[in-house]
């Protein structure tokens, strides 16, 4: 039996019906057309599905769609404002912090949450803060540098 859920996604009120066993990731991707969050594992191990819920980063694959009721959800699709990119997005591009790019939405969401909680992280804090996001292409070097650089920009 489908359940009706009302939530806010990237600032917009969204209503959707879903089966109670469906993950938030399935809902975003299959019901709402928000395919920025990726399914790399479906079991919380890769972070490719990262989104923010009430200001905290979570794996959308480890949350039920029905749990979204009344929450505030942010996905990679809501990161830029109009044509203005979030500093993390710009810095990922500038530093070539993506190769295949499939991990990128997850990294951006996790890095955003990280910098919101800790605007001036050390390299070690960045590395541990992003340990839930797997990247197989880059060896993380350029990702860490992009986050460091974005943090600097965001601190002003």
């Amino acid at each position: 039996m489908a359940v009706l859920v009302s939530t806010a996604i990237n600032g917009d009120t969204v209503e959707f019906a879903c089966d109670p066993h469906e993950s938030l990731l399935d809902v975003l991707r299959n019901r709402l057309g928000l395919s920025g969050a990726k399914e790399g594992c479906g079991t919380g191990d890769c972070g490719a599905c990262s989104v923010q819920v009430d200001g905290r980063v979570v794996c959308a694959c480890l949350m039920l769609g029905v749990e979204a009721e009344g929450r505030d959800i942010e996905t990679v699709e809501g990161m830029s404002h109009g044509t203005e990119l979030h500093p993390l997005q710009s810095k990922f591009l500038e530093h070539a912090a993506l190769q295949c790019g499939v991990c990128t939405p997850g990294f951006l969401m996790a890095a955003k949450a990280l910098l919101e909680h800790n605007p001036d992280p050390t390299e070690e804090e960045i590395r541990f803060g992003l340990a839930g996001n797997l990247c197989r292409c880059t060896g993380y070097d350029k990702i860490v540098r992009a986050v460091q650089d974005a943090a600097k920009v965001m601190r002003g």
């Binding site: 039996m1 359940v3 089966d19 109670p20 066993h21 993950s23 479906g42 079991t43 919380g44 191990d45 972070g47 990262s50 819920v53 905290r56 980063v57 979570v58 794996c59 694959c61 480890l62 949350m63 039920l64 029905v66 749990e67 009721e69 996790a110 949450a113 990280l114 541990f128 803060g129 992003l130 340990a131 839930g132 996001n133």
Partner: protein, 286 residues
């Protein structure tokens, strides 16, 4: 599958007690959803406890701390008083999964999931924590070491849930620590782990000790012999050596994809010693 998100513990217990098929409590979901995805469980009813207000709170009381069952490990780490009083417990909770998992996972869920490798459990056991259980027949309290009864099996009866975890007040000159061994730096399940809680007298001699080991037996084990090995000492070399021996002796591990019997037995000693040294320092010992 039916999903319910009641707002009171009573309603949650009522739903669980009445449930016909398989019913599961949903806290952070970081175990439950993985098992659902793998087809290992097919719940008929899921009761989400995150909308029960008292379960979302950490309360500091005269007798210690009461950590609501729906409090996430991230929230535990943000509670300064708790971090100060029980750094070992909070660190253990903070080791579970990634930042993403931390935003949702709970120590009560970690305990109920009853994995011998659960990170927060050895620390909770060493701390002498208790599970506050609510069920159709009322409330009961269980020492955490009695909650898990075997891999994946817990002592809760039908309709029962854990409402909160109770930690004792931090006594003076005492301290705790938790260490685990994983091959990577993050995102691994403990191959072996150790939680230690110590109390010293004014001279730095250990008067009380609790040592718990994870991933070396079907459940987390409280090792009385290891505690005995350090009580009455200032954690000198000889005491540490004895502690290590007692820890290794308490291991009844298995060979599996995560580690060998030999490795777990050896490293249990190493971690118990290292954790004891940190706890000793935290207790003010030199």
């Amino acid at each position: 599958m039916q999903y319910e998100a009641p707002e009171t513990t009573k309603a949650a217990v009522g739903l669980l007690a009445k449930a016909k098929g398989s019913a599961y409590v949903l806290a952070g979901g970081s175990d439950l959803l993985v098992r659902m995805k793998g087809g290992f469980v097919e719940p008929d009813l899921v009761v989400d406890i995150k909308r029960i207000k008292p379960m979302r709170e950490i309360k500091k009381t005269a007798s210690g701390f009461v950590i609501g069952a729906a409090v996430s490990c991230a929230e535990m780490n943000e509670n300064k008083a708790l971090v100060k009083a029980w750094p070992g417990v909070v660190e253990a909770a903070g080791l579970i999964g990634s930042k993403q998992v931390q935003s949702r996972c709970t120590v009560a869920g970690n305990l109920c999931n009853a994995s011998p490798a659960a990170d927060s459990v050895p620390a909770l056991v060493a701390a002498g924590a208790k599970a506050l259980i609510q069920g159709p027949k009322g409330k009961r309290k269980l020492p955490v070491e009695q909650v898990a009864v075997g891999p994946g099996k817990n002592a809760l009866k039908k309709g029962e849930l854990i409402e909160a975890i109770e930690l004792p007040a931090r006594k003076d000159r005492s301290g705790d620590a938790y260490l685990r061994f994983i091959p990577r730096t993050e995102m691994d399940i403990a191959v072996v782990s150790a939680g230690v809680n110590l109390r010293l007298d004014k001279k730095g001699v250990i008067t009380e000790a609790r040592v718990a080991l994870g991933a070396v037996a079907p459940t987390v084990v409280l090792v009385a012999a290891a505690a005995k090995a350090v009580i009455g000492t200032k954690l000198d070399e000889a005491a540490l050596a004895k502690l290590g021996e007692a820890a290794s002796a308490a291991c009844k591990p298995i060979d599996d994809k995560r580690g060998t019997i030999e490795f777990r037995t050896k490293v249990a000693a190493v971690l118990a010693k290292r954790a004891a040294e940190i706890a000793y320092k935290r207790a003010g010992g030199k």
